[in-house]
Symmetry: C2
């Protein structure tokens, strides 16, 4: 049994208000090519397929295109679960009618969890258990059990998976959750505040493989067969040093082995630091100039239209920090914190979409205060 | 070959800000029951499945439920096209993968139009040609032909249908458009202004049957086998006298016969007129009291909280007109016109959704003026 494990596609996502659709088309195309080249028996997407519950129609078209290539053209079954970013009902509309074609989109959680047997070309079929992201309250209601934490909810689901009779075939769990000790990036939306979302990796040890989604850096937790594939693209500057990949998983007699197959983005996401003159004169190839950049300028004097000058050389500068101008180190740290605050970004995006106007300085201030008060109260 | 023809479900639609989802669940359930009782070979939905391109998730759930009953439980193939209200891409996401199960959701138009052969229990299969709603500009681009009107665009599509070799089987066209001479209701959104959307029924005469959507009243145009099924519910008070139904179509040796199967709404949509005291004392059964009502009050004196008093007896009064108070007949006519103006309703819904506030009197005035100026300019 050989399959590709990927997650967190976040189709439709923007990076600092810049659409990444073209970049997503390129890496998702690479994933299709890898699936074909390695003749896999299935492809697994462990949640956060779209970036929002109501994705833009271009994002829907892109996914449609990718699924047509995988499922129709290459006849590779696809198992896809909803993550915390996806609208579970919306993602899984009419999905019952797709299973016959080999497309398994699992939106809302069911009781018991679905079991999908995937045929292997080598004859060693495996059973996949897709567990879409679900709040503990939903699991409580669906299974009629008292539970409050993500850990308890996952235990309930995994007990069902353990009970299921797979007729001796390997069991693969597909889930979208936060395992204790995972390395976070700035582009993940916390599942809940204050650590209540954390699940012990021990819960998963008995299954042949656990294909996880949520964390954007590739990593394993507890044991090597309990893995996050990571996202196929860098979705924040905090991910600048991550190497993005898909995991090629081979299960032989119940034991999983894996290989990380690297993905090559259309444009890299990098942070560069220096004085304006240096940066403008740096010798770079065309590809590197096109990268998505955060620039930290060390110049201490005022510069007229620094962004305009930089963009003549680096057309995709997305963010500029005047590090040199920040007399006050604390202020700089504060600014960085603000930038990484997902809640702030999300609310301000939401506000401008709904009102057609950007937040005023006063409104930003109130919002920042509110968010930091909330954080203080919780931690 | 026996099938049900329905259209204009408009799932998620509201009537005067009142959700009709419960009412829609009831009539769509009746349609499923009729499909089962009459053992049909297929069910056709001729567009405007949802009311908006981005339907609310409850609307998606309802359609999911109805399709599961039809396609999974009863194994009745469903052919569904996008209408002018639907988001074609969004509606048809992953639809390629559903066809094997007997669910054909046709969103964006293709070149040539799709041909779907449906098996008949009587052995006389038929080929269905779903033509989703498409602007002439889209047809022009897709087919690389010079054309400007809806009539020319439809001619191009129907030429392709005529050319297609159905191996002697009956051809059924499914389309969402406005045939010349059709009876309009207040709840249809014009396809274009000034009559450029009109198509001659003659274009369709050679096919065994044409299943049309767009007009909400059941009717045929030109010849009886070129039919609008009408919507399953009354979506405006202008439809108060329409009897809603689905069309049961039987094709024998290329000739279609039909029967209108009536639908029974959970609540009727009616206009009542009278003096307040009379209306409050009228003897009505419980069912009639629950109807969605527009009330025209003839009283000439001021009445404190007329709506409140009426709702004690008729809980679903949706609109109140003080006919008796309108000294000026012209004003009344003007008000009725405004009420029926789809553009006004749509814009004001949109405005309150986006801004969270209703239009002010001044804004309403400007909007009404703008709309009527546009109409004067066009007609």
């Amino acid at each position: 049994m050989k399959f590709l494990h990927t997650s967190d596609w976040h189709i439709g996502r923007q990076l600092h208000n810049h659409s990444l659709l073209e970049d997503q088309r390129v890496v998702l195309g690479q994933i299709v090519d890898l699936a074909e080249r390695h003749q896999v028996d299935a492809l697994v997407v462990a949640g956060d397929v779209f970036d929002r519950s109501v994705p833009p129609s271009q994002a829907i078209e892109l996914l449609d295109e990718i699924l047509a290539r995988l499922v129709k053209d290459l006849a590779i079954p696809v198992i896809m679960i909803a993550g915390n970013h996806d609208g579970a009902q919306r993602l899984a509309f009419a999905s019952k009618h797709m299973q016959q074609s080999g497309l398994y989109i699992v939106g809302p959680l069911s009781n018991p969890p679905q079991a999908i047997r995937i045929k292997s070309k080598q004859g060693d079929d495996a059973v996949f258990y897709p567990l879409p992201y679900a709040e503990p309250a939903l699991v409580r209601e669906l299974y009629g059990l008292e539970l409050t934490s993500h850990q308890q909810a996952m235990q309930v689901l995994l007990d069902k998976v353990a009970e299921d009779d797979s007729q001796g075939l390997s069991k693969v769990v597909v889930a979208h959750c936060f395992l204790d000790g995972g390395d976070e990036s700035d582009s993940e939306r916390p599942l809940s505040i204050g650590g209540a979302d954390k699940i012990s990796p021990r819960l998963f040890s008995e299954f042949s493989y656990t294909a996880l989604g949520h964390l954007h850096g590739p990593q394993y937790k507890g044991q090597p067969h309990i893995r996050y594939s990571g996202s196929p693209l860098k979705y924040s500057f905090s991910e600048q040093h991550q190497a993005k990949s898909v995991s090629l998983v081979t299960i032989t007699q119940g034991k999983a082995e894996f290989e990380l197959l690297p993905l090559r983005p259309l444009r890299d996401v990098r942070v560069i630091e220096g004085y304006l003159d240096e940066l403008l004169q740096a010798e770079l190839d065309e590809q590197a100039r096109q990268d998505y950049l955060m620039v930290r300028l060390l110049d201490k004097s005022a510069i007229l239209d620094a962004m305009g000058k930089l963009r003549e050389v680096y057309p995709n500068v997305l963010h500029l920090e005047r590090t040199g101008l920040m007399a006050n180190k604390q202020q700089l740290e504060l600014n960085r914190q603000h930038m990484s605050r997902d809640e702030f970004d999300m609310f301000s995006d939401f506000f401008s979409q709904v009102s057609g106007e950007d937040l005023s300085d006063e409104q930003r201030e109130v919002l920042l205060q509110t968010i930091s008060q909330l954080h203080e109260r919780v931690y």
